[in-house]
Amino acid sequence: MGKKMKIILKCLLFFFMLMTLSGCLSAREINDLEIVVGIGVDKDEEPGKILLTAQVVKDTAGRASENGSEGDGKAFWNVSSRGNSVFDAVRQITYKTGNRLFISHNKAVIFGYDIAAEGLEEYIDYFLRAHEMRPTALILVAEGRASDILNIKPEIEKFPAFNIAKLVDSYVFTSNFYKVNMKEFASCLMSDTSAQMAPLVSIAQDEESNDIYMSGMVVFKRGKMVGKLTHDEVRGLLWVLGKVTSGVIIVPSPNGQGKAVLEIIKAKSKVTPEIKDGKIVIHIKIKEESSLSEQTTTENLADNKALEKIQEALAEAIRREIMLTFDKSRELDADIFGFGEMLHKKYSKEWKYIKDNWDEIYPTLDLIIDVEARIIKTDLLKKPAVPSEGEK
């Protein structure tokens, strides 16, 4: 009896386990998922409500093989809903899609200009708290309505959201804006003094088509948008942050005619805050290497003397970019460089008194900028193809 009973019990147990353990209650099959790749948040006409636009991937594989053509050519669907809060709107989208959104693949969250101006702190919580959202998602601000940005069909990529993510990643080529993901944005929001930034996306309207492009960065203070930075101003910021990876600098050539155009190869920065005699001084040291990529003058710039002069001009140009950005930030009274946090880390005792008055103190900061620029190569030409007067 004992042995048989044991065997029967074991069989029952296995059967029971088979029934209960072989599945997953939260399992959602792929064709049931509404995969979201981009989300846009705008203010709705009704006060107090927001318009949420979600870019959902369309399952065109089956359809294409049937028709032989791609229908209206869009592989995505921008579905929108109105709600009193972000999560409310997200759920209300199920009225139109029939299924919950799957935001795990979301690449970017785009906030409309009007929402950014009003203040993001009401709308950002869901994107940090939702367990499907990933902190690597990008955050951007649209110069206009986010839903319009999501509607622009890109030429090369299939989905506008992927296109936007690709565009944001291209910052490495020009260093005129930079990538901000959710975690960095949240980190800045948590700081008492730093101003948050997000890239700005605009629509360039040509005659035939609308293309989106990255037009700069937006500056927030405590979640509210306070100003914009142009490409050059952003680069000034990136010099200080050490995030410049490549880009183009144009300086006048030493002989006064024409320009020398340099490509930035590498740049490093070292920032040290210092409190001296009651004044806060920030020491910025920039080390930069570039190459001569183009010249519009006929004089041969590839000799040491000329290169030295260009390097000086280059250092001066970099200094000017940084001061330009700093002046703009002073005007906006926004600590976009994060000097506040640097002071916090170094002078934690004094920081307790400083941080409450940071808004007044920030514009009085002194910057001491020391730039060391070197030109390390001249690409493939030793001398310009058009010889100068003195050489003929």
Partner: protein, 365 residues
């Protein structure tokens, strides 16, 4: 008289201990709400405080070879007081086990499988632990090798994958937080990952040779502490200020791994590692609870008690707290206060009394 017929070697003790401490890796995440970027300091300080305490456990075990905590209590404090203290310990094991089981459930419910009913997760996990316990301590000791190595691999690999996103200035300014918070943090860390090893007093009686017990315990503790330290450093360096707002910083950290668009979405990895490690910790606690209870009741074997205890534990785990917030708030206050005597006071006291009374007397035990 010993219930457990199995014996373990010193090396197995080492791995059991290391795995046990590693099982508390997610606990560091809860401490971060209190100690933020100074968590690493708190871990080191907790280790410094816990080390002599754990040392006293080992010395006590060596003094009473082959005997476990319940028997030791009986000898040192006499039958009535000894049993009362053992009941206090059993209550502690019971509650701690339920907290850990609940921890696993919360992990799954928040991150991995939010739609599954909580109680099912608890039942499945507890049933697996119960099964492991019926197999005895030797089996647990043998698998602990594997678990500890897996845990270390996951911890170090996630650390390496994230080095590009680390910003070590996040550790400054040092000593910013008020001391009371540091004190609470140190209390939590010395009590929960390290102090709960008092459970090992039930297991050290099974050592086949007690010569290397001190070394094994020390190294086991060290390996566990290093694992916790690596996790704390990784989280602070990567997340910086945001560390204090996420429910589970470790998860968010892992989600940030994004290398070459191939190595992404690795949070399942830490989910698996964490589950394995907590499983080891729970199995050990479960085993300790079953043996202690059966010793107290004078039974010949602990096996019949396993399943009913499992049933009780599941329900306690399901109902003891209302939400992860509740869990964190209570364990960080009352939880560590009520367990403090058991961890910090009784074992050294037992040692002292044993010294004074000259226990164990020859011929006894």
């Amino acid at each position: 008289m010993s219930i457990e017929k199995g014996t373990i070697s010193s090396q197995q003790l080492l791995f059991l201990m290391a795995g046990f401490v590693q099982g508390s890796v997610l606990l560091i995440d809860f401490t971060v709400g209190i100690t933020e970027h100074q968590t690493w300091m708190v871990i080191l300080a907790g280790l410094a405080i816990a080390a002599p305490v754990v040392f006293s456990y080992v010395v006590l075990a060596k003094r009473f070879p082959g005997m476990n905590l319940v028997q030791i209590n009986d000898m040192v404090y006499g039958r009535f007081l000894g049993k009362a203290i053992s009941i206090y310990y059993i209550f502690f094991f019971m509650m701690t086990l339920s907290f850990n089981i609940r921890d696993v459930g919360e992990l799954y419910i928040t991150f991995l499988m939010p739609d599954t009913p909580f109680i099912f997760l608890l039942i499945v996990f507890t049933a697996t632990c119960a099964y492991a316990v019926t197999k005895g301590i030797e089996v647990l000791a043998r698998v602990s090798h594997l678990f500890v190595v897996t845990g270390m691999l996951v911890i170090t690999s996630t650390f390496t994958l994230l080095t590009s996103q680390m910003d070590f200035s996040n550790f400054l300014p040092l000593f910013e937080l008020p001391f009371i918070r540091m004190f609470q943090g140190i209390h939590i860390v010395s009590a929960i990952p390290f102090g709960e090893t008092v459970a090992f007093l039930m297991i050290m009686g099974c050592l086949n040779k007690t010569e290397h017990a001190v070394k094994s315990t020390f190294f086991g503790l060290l390996i566990g502490a290093v694992s916790l330290l690596i996790v704390a450093v990784r989280n602070t360096a990567v997340l910086g200020r945001t560390q204090a707002i996420w429910t589970a910083p470790s998860f968010q950290t892992i989600r940030l791994i994004d290398i070459g668009t191939v190595l992404t979405r690795m949070d399942f990895l830490i989910g698996i590692a964490q589950t394995i490690l907590i499983f080891l910790k729970c199995s050990i606690l479960f085993y300790v609870l079953a043996v202690a209870l059966s010793h107290l009741l004078g039974l010949k074997s602990y096996l019949p008690l396993v399943l009913p205890i499992a049933g009780i534990e599941v329900i306690i785990a399901a109902t003891v707290f209302q939400s992860p917030v509740d869990h964190a708030m209570i364990t960080q206050n009352a939880g560590i206060i009520y367990s403090a005597p058991l961890i910090f006071i009784f074992p050294p006291l037992s040692l002292l009394i044993a010294n004074i009374r000259g226990l164990p007397k020859n011929g006894k035990g």
